[in-house]
């Protein structure tokens, strides 16, 4: 209680404080391996907030990261709008049909209050439990989908990409609608106690810089503007090779950008230079080739080499390039955390 009455430190302040003390914040993007720890299926965790929380709690107990996120689920907002979603048992749920053909098709969604949706409620409750149950020094992180990615789920990613050039008004209408949905959910997640909001915008990687600015960054800026006094920090996460988007991502008002692994083409040092000193860069140990398939020693080598490269850059958080898939060995996650803690 007392801690919440003190002025909350921003993510940026925490990162700089740590650097001054020769420490690095370490925040692996990890949720599904919590299901492995408890022998639970992803399907149950994504629909049962008690199990979801227990999985995150188990991970936090083992790893003690500087921030913990709920499980990544790019289908939860679209599912709340009634889109067709498949629920595999050991993989994340996923949208399988994209029904929107024209802007008017959005009308049938407009009267839906997504906050009354059972799965949306389940994620909000998970965040509430994380707020209450996780140790005070672990920041509580929630995910929201990005405007272009939700637009891509509504009309198909390929169509959204093409519309960015041939029918920009249509894509704009879809992104505006998506932003409205995202804001509703954002408000609820902040009320539930999230410290960090990570905007998942993977589909936007296929856009060029000016299309990205218009259809993604502009809306992200708008969302951040609306919640700037809410005491929450935002992170822009895009997978794949985002080198052409770093400047636009960094100028959107977010506290941090989260980038994918070197194998996709991301160069963290160059990205940090492009982002400038005021935006934190997070990344980018390979979630599959290193974290899942590698040995603990290979994880240590990858983490050490990244920490070494970023030595002169204060605004850096050691993270994974993307969400860790199920099946990542606990020893590898421990090796990741241990290397971060021991490095100075």
């Amino acid at each position: 209680m007392v801690s919440s009455m003190l002025k909350r430190k921003s993510l940026n302040e925490r990162v700089f404080d740590a650097y001054a003390q020769k420490r690095r914040l370490a925040v692996p993007l990890v949720g599904f391996p919590g299901c492995d720890l408890l022998g639970m299926s992803i399907k149950v965790a994504q629909q049962n907030h008690g199990v979801h929380y227990d999985c995150i709690d188990a991970l936090v107990n083992q790893l003690r990261p500087d921030a913990a996120f709920m499980m990544m689920d790019l289908s939860v907002e679209a599912n709340a709008l009634g889109l067709q979603v498949r629920f595999p048992i050991h993989e994340s749920s996923t949208v399988e049909y994209h029904p929107v053909r024209k802007v008017e098709d959005l009308d049938k969604f407009r009267s839906i209050n997504i906050l009354h949706d059972s799965r949306i409620q389940s994620y909000i409750k998970t965040v509430e439990m994380m707020r209450m149950g996780l140790p005070d020094d672990v920041l509580v992180g929630a995910y929201i989908i990005g405007p272009v990615t939700l637009a891509g789920l509504l009309e198909g990613a390929e169509q959204a990409a093409m519309d960015s050039v041939i029918d920009p008004d249509k894509l704009e209408a879809l992104c505006r609608f998506s932003t409205h949905i995202i804001q509703e959910y954002t408000r609820a997640l902040i009320n539930a106690g999230a410290d960090l909001l990570c905007i998942l915008e993977p589909t936007a990687v296929i856009l060029g810089p000016s299309q990205f600015e218009r259809f993604s960054a502009a809306y992200v800026r708008h969302i951040i503007e609306n919640y700037k006094y809410a005491g929450v920090d935002t992170i822009y996460h895009i997978c794949g090779n985002t080198m052409h988007l770093i400047e636009a991502m960094s100028r959107s008002g977010v506290a941090a950008i989260s980038l994918d692994s070197p194998q996709t083409g991301v160069d963290m040092v160059k990205a940090a230079q492009l982002a400038g000193p005021d935006v934190v860069v997070m990344g980018n140990v390979n979630p599959t080739a290193v974290m899942k398939e590698g040995t603990p020693e290979q994880v240590r080598t990858a983490c050490r080499s990244l920490l070494e490269q970023m030595r002169e850059i204060p605004n850096f958080i050691l993270s994974t390039g993307c969400d860790l898939p199920p099946g990542v060995p606990l020893e590898n996650m421990l090796a990741f955390m241990q290397t971060a803690r021991e490095f100075n």
Partner: protein, 208 residues
Amino acid sequence: MADLKALADAVIKGNQTESVRLTKEALAEKMSPKRILEEGLIAGMGVVGVRFKANEVYIPEVLISARAMKMAMEILEPQLAAAGVDPIGKAIIGTVQGDLHDIGKNLVIMMLKGAGFNVEDIGVDVSPDAFVEKIKASKPQIVGLSALLTTTMPAMDKTIQSIRQAGLNCKIMIGGAPVTQNYADKIGADGYAPDAATAVDVAKSFLN
């Protein structure tokens, strides 16, 4: 005289109305379908490929150009066949079981068609058995497997095993963001391509 340069430009700009109109015009003037394909459509797509590699255009522009080419190809394909222009090879391509990603696969298909292959698109989430059935029915020389998820990469392995066990004699190419040459070697694929342009080279190498 139909303007093949204008046709190439229509593909570059992704203007499908123009690409279709100019293709029809060229055919009406009895221009050889092969020339229309090579000097119009492939020439245009080639420019798009170069601009994409140089970061002058991005995937949306490539997709629009591919679509303009596809619409023109639909008119041209029967004419190519009628003119006795044989495809240089036959391929079927699909995304493996459990995987719904198809943007990359579609680009690979367009590039192969542009290079003169007859390509059958068998869609997404294709099971090993469905691959085997399609191969039996269409008898392609080349089979392409695409996967974008690390979790569906094992489905490539299974599909290749099923194809081999069925005793089907075809060359198998795999691709998709998480796939590597190493992985291709490991599961016994005949070839791997990191992008659509390389996919054409790999497919051509299978024909020799």
